[in-house]
Subunit: 140 residues, 2 copies
């Protein structure tokens, strides 16, 4: 995918996280919190069912930034995220990023990031700042 790097440019990715995805993420992250893994334990929480790790959902942004917009060569500098609503297994989540600032002096880009569920409810909102060295080349 090749999207022009400019203010207002957007890119999205969608994914439904399976039970297997969550189990695998729990293993590599060491986050074995039963609310994510154990259906019986999760039933006793306010969510009443297993919840996908917020960090796993949020990683969709990392995929967009590193692969789609701004794309290859991107280096993550900063991310903030508010977790607004739970994400359950097999719900399709759409993550979207939008460029809101490009620094004039350095190849540093700020993006608003939002993830929504199938009902259009925002589950994560935040901001990411990335270094995008190819921008130097674009401007040269």
């Amino acid at each position: 995918m090749s999207i022009e790097v400019k203010i207002g440019a957007t890119a999205s990715r969608s994914k439904a996280f399976s039970s297997e995805d969550v189990n695998v993420f729990a293993s590599v992250s060491t986050d074995l919190n039963p609310i994510h893994l154990n259906e019986e334990a999760a039933k006793k929480t306010i969510f009443k069912q297993r919840v996908v790790h917020g960090h796993l959902v949020s990683s969709l942004f990392s995929g967009i930034l590193g692969c789609d917009l701004p794309g290859e060569g991107t280096i993550f500098m900063e991310q903030s995220a508010k977790f607004l609503a739970p994400v359950f297994l097999d719900q399709t989540i759409t993550a979207t990023v939008e460029i809101v600032n490009i620094r004039e002096d350095k190849p540093v880009i700020t993006l608003q990031v939002v993830a929504t569920n199938e009902e259009g409810v925002a589950v994560i909102k935040g901001q990411a700042t990335v270094l995008y060295p190819p921008l130097n080349k674009l401007k040269a």
Copy 2:
């Protein structure tokens, strides 16, 4: 593990991320950025070698918060993270959280989070805010 939930309380976890961990995370997150996966492509970047996804390293905080401090029942509300230095394969990273605020009116806890490498260099610094419903019980 059971650590008293109070200002100044800390907890840590350490992990070295293997090539397999990074490959698995790439798959579940959809982040197939070659800087993480492809040694030849990574050699051409400023880091000269494969880099662990920042979101994967950052997920250590999720494990600590949900399992150790404040512990089971924790719900993530917000996280900010600055990615200060790259993390390479098989480097042991130690993530530490410290409670810096506990709200009086609600069971909401704010923690400073930091991850350091084997040389003691901070690779991630940030802040997390979590809802910890058991706090209501502690205070009752």
